[in-house]
C-alpha cells in the first residue's frame, strides 16, 4: 500500500483538472481504506468443495447436451399432422424446452464455474482521463492547421462557400425521389362509395336490408351496394378495403320519439332507423360497440362515446366531432337506400377537411 499516497494525489488531480461547479470538495475527508480484503470462499479453502463445484459445472454442461439432443428429437418426434392443434403445440413446447435446457445448462454452468472456481478477488486497473494529454492535443491542432494550410480551406472563400452550397443541395434529389411513394391525397378523403340510391347492404354478406327487417334496438353493420363484389375479385380486393375503410356504416333503429333531430336532418332517418359512419372521428377505429339501453356508441380503441339519439355528439373520450350521419330512405321495394354520400368527410380529422 506504499503507492496509495501517490494514487491519491493523482485522484485529486482528476478532481481539480476541471471546474467542479457547485461541488464542494471537502478538505477534511475520510481517507480511502482501499479495496476490501478478499473473502475466502469454501471452494478456495476446501478441496472437497472445489471438486463438488467442478462436478456441478460438468453436470450442468451434460444437462445442456441432453437438452440439445432432446430438442432435435422433439423436432422430428412431435410431427405436425394436418390441423391438429395438440401436435402443433407439442412441437413448439418440447422443441422450445429442449433448446432452453441446452442454453440454460451452458449459461448456468459457465456462471457457476466463474463464481466458484475462478478467482474472485477484485483487482484495480488505472483509468486514464478521456481527454488527450496536452501534447496530443497540440499535435492534433497542428494536424488541423496543416491540413487547413495545405488545402487553403479558410483562405479560399469562393471554394468554401460554393462547397457549402453544393453540400446543402445534394441531399434534396434524394428526398425528391420519394415523391412517388403515394399520390396527392386531393379530395379522396372527402368522398366515399355512397351515392344517391345506393342500397344499404349487410356486412360481410352483401345482401340488401329491408326497412321492415330492422327491429327497434337491433344493429346492422352496413356496407354500400357493390362493395362486397369488389372483394370477390383479387384485382379489386385492395380497392374494397380502401372503400370499406371509409364507407362502413352502423345502422340502428330506435323509437322515433327518442331521436333528437335538427330541422336540416329531419328526412335523413327513416321511421327511427338511423345510419352513422362507423369510422371514429378520433383516429379512425371502427366504432363497433352499441349499448342498447343508453343508445351510446363506444369506440373500443380509445373509448370515445357518441350519443346515437343526439346526432352522435361526443359525450365522452378524446374525439371532438360527432360521427357523420348517412342520409337514408327506402326505395320502391322497401329496401333501405342512401339519399346521398356523407355530407362531410368521415373518419379522423385532417387539415383541409373543411376547405
Amino acid at each position: 500500500m506504499s503507492d496509495k499516497k501517490t494514487e491519491l494525489v493523482k485522484h485529486d488531480e482528476v478532481e481539480h483538472q476541471y471546474e467542479a461547479g457547485l461541488a464542494k470538495v471537502n478538505a477534511d475527508k475520510f481517507t480511502d481504506p482501499g479495496i476490501e480484503p478478499h473473502r475466502v470462499r469454501m471452494t478456495d479453502k476446501s478441496v472437497k468443495h472445489e471438486k463438488t463445484a467442478a462436478r456441478q459445472v460438468a453436470a450442468l454442461f451434460l444437462i445442456s447436451i441432453a437438452g440439445s439432443i432432446f430438442a432435435i428429437w422433439a423436432y422430428f418426434g412431435f410431427r405436425v399432422y394436418g390441423f391438429d392443434l395438440n401436435s402443433i403445440r407439442n412441437n413448439a413446447l418440447f422443441l422450445g424446452l429442449g433448446i432452453s435446457l441446452g442454453m440454460f445448462g451452458i449459461g448456468i454452468g459457465a456462471v457457476h464455474w466463474a463464481k466458484t472456481l475462478m478467482p474472485d478477488a477484485e483487482v484495480s486497473e488505472a483509468r486514464h482521463q478521456t481527454r488527450g494529454t496536452e501534447e496530443t492535443r497540440a499535435a492534433a491542432i497542428e494536424v488541423i492547421k496543416l491540413a487547413n494550410e495545405e488545402s487553403g480551406f479558410s483562405r479560399r472563400k469562393l471554394i468554401r462557400r460554393s462547397l457549402y452550397g453544393a453540400l446543402a443541395l445534394f441531399p434534396i434529389p434524394g428526398l425528391v425521389i420519394f415523391r412517388d411513394l403515394g399520390p396527392n391525397p386531393a379530395d379522396k378523403l372527402k368522398h366515399t362509395m355512397w351515392s344517391a340510391g345506393a342500397k344499404l347492404m349487410r356486412d360481410p354478406s352483401g345482401t340488401p336490408i329491408k326497412a321492415s327487417d330492422v327491429q327497434v334496438g337491433s344493429v346492422f353493420h352496413v356496407i354500400p351496394e357493390g362493395l362486397a363484389e369488389l372483394g370477390e375479385n383479387d384485382a379489386t380486393y385492395g380497392k374494397m378495403l380502401e372503400e370499406k375503410a371509409k364507407a362502413a356504416v352502423l345502422l340502428v333503429r330506435v323509437d322515433p320519439a327518442d331521436l333528437k333531430e335538427s330541422e336540416a336532418r329531419k328526412d335523413w332517418s327513416y321511421q327511427g332507423i338511423v345510419a352513422y359512419s362507423k369510422i371514429c372521428t378520433h383516429v379512425g377505429c371502427p366504432v363497433a360497440l352499441y349499448e342498447q339501453h343508453t343508445h351510446h356508441l363506444l369506440c373500443p380503441c380509445h373509448q370515445s362515446t357518441f350519443d346515437l339519439t343526439d346526432e352522435c355528439k361526443v359525450i365522452f373520450g378524446p374525439a371532438s366531432r360527432p360521427l357523420p350521419q348517412l342520409p337514408i330512405t327506402v326505395d320502391a321495394e322497401g329496401y333501405l337506400v342512401a339519399r346521398s354520400d356523407f355530407t362531410e368527410p368521415v373518419g379522423p380529422s385532417f387539415w383541409d377537411r373543411k376547405a
Binding site: 475462478m118 478521456t130 387539415w351 373543411k354
Partner: protein
C-alpha cells in the same frame, strides 16, 4: 516463413491458429490490450447486457422468420391446414404468418421467441436507462453515450411497432389505422404524409412491404451501428463503478475479462437466450390466427398494443374531449396533436437531461464513480416523477380493462387517471426527495453513532439502552464517499448586472441543492465519539 511454420507445428492446432491470426490481424496485441481488462461487478450492470443479448436473439429468430414470411398484401383465399380460416380472403402476409405458425415445424416457437425477445429488448433497455439515470452514470464523460442509448431505446420501439404491423391481422391493422389517424391530424401536411406512407388511401396495398423493409433492414442496421458506438464508448471510458472503498474516478475495480467475465457474460448470454426460449415455449403470444385478416369494419374490445407503445396509446386516451378547433377554414386536431406533443416533449427532456443537469451544477469534472440515488435527492426525485408520469400514461392504455376487471365506471377511471397524470408525478417528486434525504440522514446516524446491534443492556440505574456497534472503515467509507454541492447565488457580472441567465441558473441550483445532507467528516465523527463517551 519456415520458422513460423515450425513454431506453429510445435504448439499444436491452437497455437497454430493463434499464430496464423496474429500474423494476419495482430491478435496478440488485441489480447494483450483487452484480455485482462477489468469490469466492475454489480447486478444492475446486467440490464444493458440483457438488452444486448435479446437483440442477438431477435436477429437470429428474425432471420429464421424471413425465410418463410412473405411481406405482400396481395389477396389470397386461405387454403392451409387451419380449419376456421379455410376459404377466407386474406393477404399473403397474413396467410404466410399462419403457415409459419402451423405448417413450419419450430415456426410457431420462433414467432414467439421473436415477439418475447422484442418485448424483453425494450424492457431491459428501459430498465438499463433507469439504472444509468438514477446512478448519475450519464455525467461527463458519458453524456453522448446516454444520447446513443436513448436512440437505441427509440429504435427499439420503432422496430417493435414495424414488426407488430407485419402479420396484417385485425389487431395490427387497427394499430396502423390509429397511426394513420394520428398522421392525418398533423397540420398542413397530415394527409400527404399518410398518402406517402400508405401509397395512397389507407390501408392500400403497400404498407406491409414498406414496413418490412424498415423492419428487417434499416432499423436493425441502425440498431447495430448504435450498439457498436455504444460499446465502443464503453471501451473508451471503461465501465463506471459504484462508490465504495478503493473505488475512485481514476481506477476501475472489478474482475478481469478473461477468464471471469468471458465466463460470466458469455454464460449470461445463454441464460438470457434460455429464459426467452422457456417463455416462448410455454406462453402463447399474439395468436394472430384468432384475430382474422385485416378488415376495416370489425374490431375486438379490450385490445392492447405491445407494452412499450402503451404510454403513447394512453396519452391518446387521456386527452380531454373537444380539443379540436377550426380557424381560417383549416382544422387543428389538438386531440391528436396534444398527446403527440406531450410524448415528443417527454422524450426530448429524457434525451437532454444530462446536459440540463450539467448546466445547473456547472460540474465539468469526469465522473466514473456512480452516485447512490439517495446522495442525489433532486435527481432521484425528478426520475421518480418521470417514472410515475410514464406509468400513468401507460395505465391510460388500459382504462377499459381496468374498468371492466375492477367493475368501475370507465368515465371515473379516465378522470382519475387524467388528474393522476398531473398530481402523482408532483407527489412522487416530493415523497422521493424526502425519502432520499431521510436515507442520507440515516447514513449519517450510522456513521456517527454506529449500527444498532439489537443487544439491549440494562444500566445500573435501571435505564435500558440498545448498544450501538461502530461500523468498520470499509462500510463507513461507502457511506461518506460523496460530494456536497452548494447552491450558487445570483451575482452581478463585471458590469454590475445580474443577468436573467444568471438568475435562472441560481434558482435552478437552489432547487437542486438547497435541501441537502452533507457527508460526515472525520472531525464530526471525532466529536460524536467524544460526546458518546461523556454520556456513558
Amino acid at each position: 516463413m519456415t520458422t513460423a511454420n515450425n513454431t506453429a507445428k510445435k504448439g499444436g492446432f491452437l497455437a497454430g491458429t493463434a499464430n496464423y491470426l496474429d500474423e494476419r490481424v495482430g491478435v496478440a496485441g488485441i489480447l494483450k490490450t483487452f484480455g485482462r481488462k477489468v469490469f466492475p461487478d454489480h447486478w444492475s450492470f446486467m440490464l444493458g447486457e440483457v438488452a444486448l443479448y435479446s437483440f442477438l436473439v431477435l436477429l437470429l429468430s428474425g432471420t429464421f422468420l424471413t425465410f418463410f414470411f412473405q411481406p405482400a398484401m396481395t389477396p389470397v383465399v386461405y387454403d392451409g391446414i387451419y380449419g376456421p380460416l379455410k376459404g377466407a380472403h386474406m393477404s399473403v402476409a397474413y396467410a404466410s404468418t399462419i403457415d409459419i405458425s402451423f405448417e413450419v415445424r419450430g415456426g410457431l416457437l420462433m414467432r414467439q421467441v421473436h415477439h418475447w425477445s422484442a418485448l424483453l429488448f425494450v424492457a431491459s433497455a428501459g430498465l438499463h436507462m433507469l439504472r444509468v439515470f438514477f446512478t448519475g452514470a450519464f455525467r461527463k464523460p458519458r453524456e453522448i453515450n446516454w444520447v446513443v442509448g436513448f436512440a437505441l431505446f427509440v429504435l427499439g420501439m420503432a422496430g417493435g411497432f414495424t414488426g407488430y404491423s407485419l402479420p396484417d391481422d385485425l389487431l395490427s391493422g387497427n394499430g396502423l389505422r390509429i397511426i394513420d389517424g394520428m398522421l392525418k391530424g398533423v397540420p398542413v401536411i397530415g394527409s400527404w404524409i399518410s398518402s406517402l406512407l400508405f401509397g395512397g388511401e389507407f390501408p392500400g396495398e403497400n404498407i406491409v412491404a414498406r414496413l418490412y423493409s424498415l423492419h428487417i433492414m434499416l432499423i436493425p442496421a441502425l440498431i447495430l451501428v448504435f450498439i457498436a458506438i455504444h460499446l465502443f464508448m464503453v471501451v473508451i471510458h471503461k465501465h463506471s463503478h459504484y462508490s465504495g472503498p478503493g473505488k475512485r474516478d481514476d481506477n476501475v475495480v472489478g474482475y478481469p475479462l478473461a477468464p471471469v467475465y468471458v465466463a460470466k457474460a458469455g454464460g449470461f448470454f445463454f441464460i438470457v437466450f434460455g429464459a426467452i426460449m422457456l417463455v416462448a415455449a410455454t406462453f402463447t403470444i399474439n395468436p394472430v390466427w384468432n384475430y382474422g385478416g385485416y378488415d376495416p369494419s370489425p374490431v375486438s374490445a379490450g385490445t392492447q398494443p405491445d407494452w412499450y407503445i402503451g404510454w403513447l396509446d394512453g396519452a391518446l386516451r387521456l386527452t380531454p374531449s373537444h380539443l379540436e378547433f377550426e380557424a381560417g377554414g383549416y382544422t387543428y386536431s389538438m386531440n391528436v396533436l396534444l398527446p403527440m406533443i406531450v410524448g415528443v416533449l417527454f422524450l426530448i427532456i429524457v434525451a437532454l437531461y444530462p446536459f440540463i443537469e450539467a448546466w445547473v451544477t456547472g460540474d465539468k469534472r469526469e465522473h466514473h464513480v456512480l452516485d447512490r440515488p439517495r446522495n442525489a435527492p433532486t435527481r432521484t426525485a425528478i426520475g421518480a416523477a418521470g417514472v410515475v408520469f410514464y406509468a400513468v400514461l401507460w395505465a391510460g392504455a388500459a382504462t377499459d380493462l381496468i374498468a371492466t376487471n375492477f367493475k368501475m365506471s370507465l368515465n371515473q377511471v379516465l378522470t382519475t387517471l387524467q388528474i393522476s397524470l398531473i398530481v402523482l408525478p408532483v407527489l412522487a417528486y416530493y415523497i422521493t426527495k424526502r425519502l432520499a434525504l431521510s436515507l442520507q440522514r440515516k447514513d449519517r446516524e450510522i456513521v456517527l453513532h454506529g449500527r444498532e446491534s439489537g443487544r439491549i443492556v440494562r444500566l445500573p440505574h435501571g435505564e435500558f439502552i440498545e448498544v450501538h456497534e461502530e461500523i468498520d472503515e470499509y462500510t463507513r467509507y461507502k457511506l461518506v464517499d460523496f460530494v456536497n454541492y452548494e447552491p450558487i447565488m445570483a451575482r452581478p457580472n463585471a458590469r454590475g448586472k445580474i443577468t436573467i441567465r444568471g438568475r435562472i441558473r441560481a434558482s435552478m441550483s437552489r432547487w437542486f441543492f438547497e435541501d441537502r445532507v452533507t457527508p460526515v467528516t472525520p472531525a464530526e465523527l471525532e466529536a460524536a465519539h467524544k460526546h458518546g463517551k461523556e454520556l456513558h
